[in-house]
């Protein structure tokens, strides 16, 4: 009996990838690249505020290299992070060539440090929360409640969760039934281009995109698709220089104008 057990354990040991103590290559239990970075940051044994991001980038890249050497399949997330860190490292090495579009290497490093601190803070907070006096474990309710009125004559024992669950179940049931795919009743891009083209050169003033929608829209969904198609059509035509588009603020109204008319007026 004992022998058998020994043998089993032995086999198990051989099959399982061996864990390295400090630099854990086993992916199990890790939740994404940020989690790994936080673990690696702990290896530096410094306060996260004094973390060397440069060093951390190295640690991470080594970790990825090691994982690949062991033929561990890394999800795309991990590789994207590796590429980004490699880029950050190179930026940190080369003295500032500030371009306006991109944040500086220092800003990027600071942003990463911030994210790590924030995650660490939430992790600690979660642990502290679990260490509090927990109802049912350290603190108790009345064991034998008595029931009297709550003044409302009737109350219902139903929660928002129950309601959502019922709706979810209902909708799931729907899926089990036959799915009829109806013919599309959306307003197509071709239709939008054709319609917009008919206005070409006839838009002297800045005019709201919405005014170009056809009048016979059937319902909300149809309307929505018309807006999307008309917008896309306008972009398409703007690219060809046939109209001009203006939007004064993010998510503000979109206006269209014929390009040549402005020159005349």
């Amino acid at each position: 009996m004992e022998k058998l057990i020994d043998l089993d354990q032995h086999e198990d040991d051989d099959l399982r990838p061996k864990k390295k103590s400090a630099l854990i290559i086993d992916l199990e239990g890790f939740e994404g690249p940020l989690d790994i970075l936080l673990e690696l940051a702990r290896d530096q044994k410094v306060d996260l505020i004094h973390l060397s991001i440069f060093h951390l980038a190295d640690q991470y890249l080594n970790w990825v290299a090691e994982a690949r050497r062991k033929n561990l399949e890394l999800a795309a997330d991990y590789l994207v992070m590796a590429a980004w860190l490699a880029y950050l490292k190179s930026r940190l090495l080369i003295p500032t060539q500030s371009t306006e579009e991109e944040p500086s290497a220092e800003e990027m490093a600071a942003a990463l440090a911030f994210q790590l601190q924030r995650l660490e803070a939430m992790r600690t907070a979660g642990e502290q929360l679990m260490e509090r006096s927990i109802l049912g474990k350290n603190v108790f309710k009345r064991g034998e409640p008595e029931s009297f009125g709550k003044m409302d004559d009737v109350s219902y024992d139903v929660t928002l969760y129950d309601l959502m669950k019922a709706y979810g179940d209902q909708m799931n049931k729907h899926v089990d039934q036959t799915l009829h795919i109806e013919a599309t009743d959306l307003y197509s891009m071709d239709m939008a281009i054709e319609r917009l083209r008919s206005f070409l050169g006839k838009i002297p003033e800045w005019t709201k995109l919405q005014s170009f929608l056809p009048k016979d829209l059937k319902n909300e969904l149809h309307t929505r698709s018309a807006i999307a198609s008309t917008f896309a059509a306008a972009l398409e035509m703007a690219r060809d220089g046939k109209v001009k588009i203006r939007q004064s603020e993010t998510f503000g109204a979109i206006y269209i104008q014929s390009p040549d008319t402005e020159l005349i007026s």
Binding site: G143, V154, S155, Y156, A166, Y167, Q170, N172, V175, E220
Partner: protein, 212 residues
């Protein structure tokens, strides 16, 4: 009274509060070292609670906290009726919330079964749904929507706060199977929240309620 016996009294208090049934003196004395006089602790507590809204009472050999009889009597006048909703009612309510304004026929179509007579009545009586005018289609069927009491019951500020399809899905309450994706991509089932246009259309026509 010394500190120790104060602590003892606190413990008896807590144990009796949390217990699911009246506790005997013997059982209570298990919480203490030998020599602690549980009986006199209980008597002291009983006196302390005598004038309060809750009394410590003796039931045979066991002890329990109970609402003071004069108050219990007063309270039971307000005895509340806690009702459970049927499955059908919960589903119907959810559909009214998500698809409002919605007609009876539409509810039946979504649930795939006909609504029994009482279902909408129950929800109407509970004050959670109300008529929302008539649909401008043949037969001019009545539509239903949710009320302010509905929001109160479920702790919502506005109907718009209900989780949408995508959110139900991501909360794990809705299967994310491809078919349903096809639906929601088309926007058909998505957020049938109150649209101003529909509101105006239908609220224009306040007509008597159920006439069936």
């Amino acid at each position: 009274m010394n500190d120790e016996s104060l602590e003892h009294k606190r413990l008896v208090e807590a144990v009796l509060f949390a217990s699911k049934e009246p506790l005997g003196e013997k059982k209570l004395s298990n919480y203490f070292q030998e020599g602690v006089d549980v009986k006199s602790l209980l008597k002291e507590l009983q006196e302390e609670y005598a004038g309060k809204g809750v009394n410590l009472i003796r039931l045979g050999n066991a002890w329990a906290f109970r609402t003071a009889p004069d108050i219990a009597e007063h309270l039971s006048e307000h005895r509340e009726n806690v009702k459970t909703l049927s499955r059908a009612a919960i589903e119907t309510l959810a559909i009214c919330a998500y698809h409002q304004p919605v007609t009876r026929a539409e509810i039946e179509e979504i649930r795939g079964v006909s609504l029994s007579k009482g279902t909408l009545d129950v929800l109407f009586e509970a004050g959670w749904i109300k008529p929302r005018g008539r649909r401008r289609t043949p037969g001019r069927p009545m539509t239903w929507g949710t009320t302010v009491s509905f929001l109160d019951q479920f702790g919502l500020e506005k109907i718009d706060d209900l989780p949408g399809i995508e959110e139900l899905k991501s909360a794990g309450l809705l299967d994310a199977r491809p078919a349903i994706n096809a639906y929601s991509v088309r926007g058909e089932m998505e957020l049938p929240f109150v649209h101003p246009e529909q509101d105006q259309d239908e609220d224009d026509l306040p007509e008597p309620l159920l006439e069936e």
